[in-house]
């Protein structure tokens, strides 16, 4: 009971702390200054097997000095609108601290003024869905200051699908069937034994 109260106190303090330390950043306030492209072998990719190659760099049409605050680039895998339907846990919020659109990190590296390319093998815990790639430019306090994505503003072009692993294994399937059969057979065994005991008691 005391441990639980302590944990709750900790959560409360942390929640207060995180709110006061960081100002709320809105996605709509970010400028789209990065150019991001993602290439992949085919449109339907397999988690755990296929690779995505991501390239990003500053859009040269912006004035020099736009990227003075950029310290790190974080590239993320984000859900396309079609995969967000009826799934509130993937919802897009304008407030970036509440936004759940981008849940997988592809790479996080220090910012360089030249274009950067990275190859990423899709991790095995990525679910089946339609995705696009977005890169956030972070400042020294790890706050988002700009972004870029490989799709348009409405998130309709250049989308790709990822097929997740099932997580099933043959050994699991066999174990399930065996244990299930054992339960049912054991029940029948008990009934049989009871009937025999009842028959003996009558004699």
């Amino acid at each position: 009971m005391a441990a639980r109260a302590l944990l709750l106190g900790f959560i409360l303090v942390f929640a207060c702390f995180s709110d006061t330390c960081f100002a709320i950043i809105y996605f709509s306030s970010l400028q789209r200054t990065l150019v991001v492209t993602a290439s992949h072998p085919q449109r339907l990719l397999k988690a755990g097997e296929d690779k995505i190659t991501v390239t990003w760099g500053l859009n040269q049409s912006f004035p020099a000095g736009t990227d003075s605050a950029y310290k790190t680039i974080k590239v993320q895998l984000c859900y396309a609108p079609i995969s967000q339907v009826d799934r509130a846990w993937r919802k897009t919020h304008d407030s970036l601290s509440k936004d759940k659109t981008c849940q997988f990190k592809i790479v996080k590296t220090p910012y360089t003024t030249t274009n950067h390319t990275s190859e990423w093998t899709i991790e095995r815990d990525v679910p089946t869905a339609t995705y696009f790639v977005r890169a956030y430019a972070l400042d020294a306090q790890d706050q988002q200051v700009a972004y870029g994505q490989n799709t348009d503003a409405k998130k309709t072009t250049n989308l790709f699908e990822i097929q997740a692993i099932t997580g099933r294994h043959v050994s699991l399937d066999i174990a399930s069937v065996c244990f299930s059969a054992f339960s049912v057979v054991a029940l029948m065994g008990f009934f049989f034994a009871e009937k025999r005991k009842g028959g003996k008691a009558q004699q």
Partner: protein, 505 residues
């Protein structure tokens, strides 16, 4: 007819003091003496296992929903399916207990639903997920066998307590699973399994636990203080009853229907919260899976004292004020549960939510315990059917509530919780309509008519033909033992120890 209380030489010796039906008049929690306390421990552990299995999926939903590509609608449907199977299963279990005894009935159900829990590991689509949750939910019918078994083993002074502790500690499974499953999942994942495989392996734990508890019930349990149904029926000590008569007298008792409705809004609400609360905290307050699980668990874990507390309170009220006290306390506690549910939906901060949720859990679970302080007295012949109706009503409440307020994206979860609180208050009002001629109701005292005695009430379930055959003897003993429900002020008058049923042919 003489009811002897000290037939010393021929009576077997029991570890606990017993009444004329050999039901224990005391409840000793830390004893495992056969048959009474052993039955208690077997029944609550096996019921706990079923609860763990039925609610093993919700704490892992953030992983499962990604693996099986579920939408909010799929999750809502599966949640409804998980509690709807038990609606008719509970009624069937009630009848099975009346006819075959709680030991065989519960063990059979548990061993037949264990395979479904094993098959959860193989689920690969929203449809298969819904099916496994639906069939696993059938195991919640063991609630009825638990209550029936306790009502068969424990006498009126402690039946509320026994029912409350057994039911409460079983329901604990719904809270414990929110802790156990994320822990087991984390362990398996850390050993090296991928997330989408780790949750599948984790399901073997509740499945194995369920299977082993059923074995224990079969090996160590017995139906009645005097033995098992089959043996007693063969020796003639227990009459084999007819399904149609048992069923008829159960469903024609209006009190059973009212209790079914009101139980839907204490236990049904508890089941609904078990299904939605982990996801609610995870999504609304952006917590980690493990943390959301701990908070969600504290709702179910309150059962360790809240439901037993309700049962003990019911017995205490019954001792002082009789059945009327039991009814008033039930209505008060359940209505307060509704009030705190409304508040839970309104608070916005994490700490306030947790605090209100814990208070709410106490009231709603105590109401469950209080309900089963009343149920054993509604019928003697059809105890199983009444228990089954009430228990089934609990699940209907869960189905209806989840359908209206928690399916898809129509209401936010907070709004759903507030509306559920309002529904609790409204659906507790029918308690005012319950009336026992011999004990009274919430607003009316007992009837002063000559035919308003405990014997008349319980004998009305037997036809004169059946009475001629002597089938009603057990009910007669129960009627005598239930006279305490008149409350202390009335009971203090000296009553004749052998009550002859009036106007007997």
């Amino acid at each position: 007819m003489e009811i002897s209380s000290n037939g010393a030489e021929t009576q077997p010796k029991f570890a606990l003091p017993v009444d004329s039906e050999h039901k224990a008049t005391e409840f000793r929690l830390f004893s495992a003496a056969a048959p009474h306390m052993r039955a208690f421990h077997l029944s609550w552990v096996s019921f706990f296992a079923c609860f763990v299995s039925t609610f093993a999926a919700p704490p892992l939903l953030p992983i499962i929903r990604d693996n099986l590509n579920l939408t909010a609608t799929d999750i809502g449907n599966a949640g409804i399916a998980s509690v709807s199977g038990a609606v008719f299963a509970r009624l069937a279990m009630g009848t099975a207990c009346d006819l075959f005894g709680p030991r065989l009935a519960s063990a059979s159900l548990i061993l037949l639903t264990a395979p479904v829990v094993f098959f959860t590991s193989i689920a690969s689509s929203p449809v298969s997920f819904l099916l496994v949750r639906f069939f696993t939910g059938f195991s919640l019918a063991t609630f009825v066998s638990t209550q029936f078994w306790m009502s068969s083993m424990f006498s009126a002074p402690v039946v509320g307590t026994a029912n409350g502790v057994a039911g409460g500690w079983g329901n604990l499974g719904g809270g414990a699973t929110q802790l156990i499953m994320p822990l087991v999942f984390g362990l398996i994942r850390d050993i090296g399994a991928v997330k989408f495989t780790a949750w599948r392996i984790a399901f073997f734990i509740p499945a194995l636990f369920q299977t082993l508890s059923a074995f224990a019930v079969l090996l160590f349990g017995q139906d009645l203080p005097d033995g098992n149904y089959k043996r007693l029926q063969k020796s003639g000590d227990k009459q084999k009853d007819k399904f149609s008569r048992v069923f008829y007298h159960g469903i024609t008792n209006y009190r059973g229907w009212i209790l079914a409705l009101t139980y839907g809004y204490c236990f049904g609400v508890e089941l609904t919260i078990d299904n939605i609360i982990a996801e609610y905290f995870y999504d609304r307050f952006n917590l980690k899976l493990h943390t959301a699980g701990i908070i969600a668990a504290s709702f179910g874990l309150a059962n360790i004292i809240s439901r037993p507390g309700g049962g003990i309170l019911s017995d205490a009220m019954g001792k002082r004020f009789g059945m009327r006290g039991r009814l008033w306390t039930l209505w008060t506690v359940q209505t307060l549960g509704g009030v705190f549910c409304i508040i839970l939906g309104q608070v916005n901060s994490l700490s306030a939510s947790v605090a209100v949720m814990i208070i709410f859990s106490f009231f709603v679970q105590a109401a469950c315990g209080l309900t089963f302080g009343v149920v054993p007295f509604v019928s003697r012949r059809s105890l199983g059917v009444i228990s089954g109706m009430t228990g089934g009503g609990g699940n209907v409440g869960a189905v209806v509530t989840q359908l209206i307020f928690f399916k898809g994206s129509r209401y936010s979860k907070e709004t759903g919780i507030t509306l559920m609180g309002i529904m609790i208050i409204c659906c507790s009002l029918p308690l005012f309509l319950i009336y026992f001629p011999q004990w009274g109701g919430m607003f009316c005292g007992p009837s002063s008519a000559k035919t308003a005695t405990e014997e008349d009430y319980y004998m009305s379930e037997w036809s004169s033909n059946e009475k001629d055959k002597g089938l009603h003897e057990a009910s007669l003993k129960f009627a005598d033992n239930s006279r305490r429900e008149r409350g202390r002020s009335v009971h203090s008058q000296t009553l004749p120890s052998n009550a002859t049923p009036p106007a007997d042919v």
